[in-house]
Each structure stands twice: as structure tokens, then as C-alpha cells.
């Protein structure tokens, strides 16, 4: 079995950098564009994300996720951080459009990797409110306050739906937590 790109990076194999850019450049660029306000901002974010990828490569555990999902996680962390510091959110054309959007597309052709396909299926198993909150927050990038304002749900309810929903999707994806591996209650 070929060694993963991230393991090669962790071993300081610089030839893996080009392979990483070739394989995951499009993914990171797409996530950055989705969660940034303009192209310049997205380009800065991509540079920061890849530095984070080099730094965190050794933490990649293929028994826990695919390389694609791990890199998407690193990208999300940085993008959320940038949004928080910039105190801005994605400016949707219309919040009402997003809320009204039938965002429960499980169209498998649209999904980037197998875990995204499974995530789409998992969302279908959630209660409609949980699914709506997760899509508005994770896919559309809205804060809990914005979701509360847009949907009329109290802030605490938004958080509760998000927490329960994400735990259920984790179960569906089989991404076991360290806690459950140690026999704790999840």
C-alpha cells in the first residue's frame, strides 16, 4: 500500500508537497472560496491552511478518517478562525433564500468523497430542525445567532440541535471518539 501523502510530509519528504497540492489544492481552494468574502481573502486563507497542513501532518490517523476529510478539517479550523477574527460572516444574498433552500441534497454525484456522500446520507436521518441547523452552520457558514434570527429558534435550541445532530452524524459515519473507545458514554 502506498504511503499516504501526509505521512510522507510528516517524514519531511518535500516531494510530497507537490502531490498534496495536486490532490487537495482544489478542495482547499473551494472551501476557502466558500468561507471567504473575496478572492484575496481566500488566497491568504489557502496559504495559511497549507502551513497548518504541514504542521499537523503527523497527527493524521488513517484509522480515524480519510486524508481528504483530515485536510478539510484543518481547512475549516483555519477558516472559522479567520471569520471569527475578522468578525464577519459570509454575506449571503438573502438569508431567507438559504433558510428556504432545500439543502438536503443527497445527490451522490455532487459529493467530493465517500465521507461527504455518507454525511449527506446521515443528514437525511436527522430531525428536520437538526439537519437545517447543521446545514446552515457548517455548509452555509452562519453563526448560531444568525441561525436563531433567521429561523426564529431560541439560541439555546439552535445549539442543542447542532450538538445532537453532529453526534448522530458522527455515529452514522463511524467516526468513533476517543471517549467511546475508552468506554465512556458518548
Amino acid at each position: 500500500m502506498a504511503e499516504s501523502i501526509l505521512h510522507r510530509i510528516a517524514d519531511k519528504d518535500q516531494t510530497a508537497v507537490q502531490d498534496c497540492l495536486k490532490k487537495y489544492g482544489g478542495l482547499v481552494w473551494s472551501l476557502a472560496r466558500r468561507m471567504s468574502t473575496n478572492t484575496e481573502d481566500a488566497e491568504d486563507a489557502v496559504q495559511e491552511i497549507f502551513i497548518d497542513v504541514w504542521k499537523n501532518a503527523e497527527r493524521f490517523d488513517e484509522s480515524q478518517s480519510s486524508e481528504t476529510t483530515f485536510i478539510a478539517m484543518i481547512a475549516r479550523r483555519r477558516l472559522i478562525d479567520r471569520l471569527r477574527y475578522a468578525k464577519r460572516r459570509i454575506a449571503p444574498d438573502s438569508l431567507e433564500d438559504i433558510v428556504a433552500e432545500p439543502a438536503n441534497r443527497a445527490d451522490e454525484e455532487m459529493q467530493t468523497n465517500i465521507e461527504a456522500k455518507d454525511a449527506a446520507r446521515a443528514l437525511q436521518t436527522l430531525r428536520p430542525e437538526q439537519r437545517q441547523v447543521l446545514q446552515l452552520s457548517i455548509v452555509q457558514g452562519l453563526s448560531h445567532q444568525e441561525i436563531s434570527e433567521a429561523t426564529g429558534m431560541p439560541l439555546g435550541t439552535v445549539k442543542t440541535h447542532a450538538r445532537r445532530g453532529i453526534l448522530q452524524v458522527r455515529e452514522f459515519l463511524g467516526m468513533s471518539s476517543l471517549e467511546s473507545m475508552k468506554g465512556g458514554a458518548a
Partner: protein
Amino acid sequence: MNEQEKEKMRELLSDKAVFGLTDAEIAELAELEENFPEFADDSLELTAAAIGMMNLDTSEPMPAHLQAKVAADAEQYFAARKAEASVSEPPKETAEEFQKTFTFEPKSSIWQWLGWAVGALACVALAINIYTTQQKLKELEAKTVPTPTATPVKLTPAQEREQLLASAKDIVETNWGDFDKAKPKNVQGDVVWSNAAQKGFVRFRGLPVNDQSKETYQLWIFDENQKQPIDGGVFDASEAGEIIVPINAKLKVQKPIMFGVTAEKPGGVPVSDLKNVMAVAKIAA
């Protein structure tokens, strides 16, 4: 870990994965993770990442100029890592070199044996001579100068900053801004701080070069639990452009809410009157 702490950690991990956390929540989670590392967990963030890839159009490739920038960044990053590794792991003799140095072929000729014996005697004599000479030199040196010690290669502040960013889990980052908007100083840059490591660095662009005979710059950490700002050390801006300075907190920092830099008399002051504030960096609540 009690049930209440467990529940709090689950909530924070969920919120981190779905919405991101505030600085206060980041600090709270970092403390819980430090106390209970066995419960630190990426699985919810990985789940959110999988959801985040739904309906993602990845058909547009990353622009070529951006790819070049990322590759250049990578080159710099790996060069810095290599430099750090060479500091922490001094080069060792490889097994091959060791063998090459210490292996010899046995010779059968008596003349060759005699040659070795004479050589060995000469070596013993030389060793005794070197030993006695060194002892005399050591005695002489002890009277004049301290024994020199090996000087480790010192990391630059930029490398140390990178090291901190790579190793600390509770990094707080914030940007410099004007203290008095009516009198802008236009100092730019940022602050990174780790409470767990009690270590941090400031970066400045546009901080004027100071006349060291008249003034120095001094860093301050405003801690929620301290009445007075904590002295973060003094430094000089001896050149224009970007400068990076390590924060040298004189007291333990518990809950930083703001960083500041002031111009003070040479040597710094124990308490600043905050008359010459060059910039402040607030931590978002």
C-alpha cells in the same frame, strides 16, 4: 473528570466543530484538554468537515500563482524545520563511519607487528604528553578565563515563534491597532500568546526606530486578574520593517485581555503612566 466537566467538554467540542469558539471558550477547552488529555478528540471536527464537503464544487483548480506561493511557503517552512532539527539533534556519527574509523585489518608479519608496537608506544607517550600539557593549560585557563562551553545554535525569534505556533494548542492571536483613533500611530502586526506555555511573540510593522539614548519600547499584558498591566519586557526597534520580539512576562499571566506597547525611558518602568501608547491588541471576548 466528573460528569459536569465531561458534559462541558462535549458541548465545547461540538460547538467548536459546528460554529467555532470564542476566545473564552477556547481557553476553557484548552484547560480541560490539558487536565484531561485522554478526552481531547477530533472526531466531531472530522464529522463537521465531512458535512462541509457536501455539495462542494471542486472543479475549479487552485490558481497557478497561488500554488506557487504555497510551494514557496512550504520550502521556507521545511527549511526552518530542518534548522530546528539540526539544533535539537546534533549530527551523529553513522554506524558506517564509526566502523570505518575503528576497524583495522590484522597483519601477520612480525615487522608489521613491531611497527604497530612502536606506534602504540609512541601513541601512549604522546597521550601522556598531551594530557599533562592540557592539565597545565587548564590550570592556566582557570586562573584567567572561565572554561568555554559549547554554544548551542540560537533560534531566531521568527523560528521560535513558528515552533510555539506548531506546538501550543491554546494559541491566542490578535492584531495590533491604534490606542487613540484620533492620533493614529499606524503600527501593524500581531501578537501570539500561549497561556499554557506562558510564552508569546509580537510582530510589528511600522514601529518607528527609537533613539535608544532617550527611550525604549515596553510590552504590557493586561490581565483580567491583575490590577496593573504585567511588564512584558523592553526592546528597541533598531531597524525599519518587520520585527519580532518575544514576550517576557514578569508575572504569571492568567487571563490576558489585551496587549500593549508603550514608549518609556531607557530601561523601562515598573508601572507605565500609559502616556505614550504606540499600539494595543485586544483579545476578542
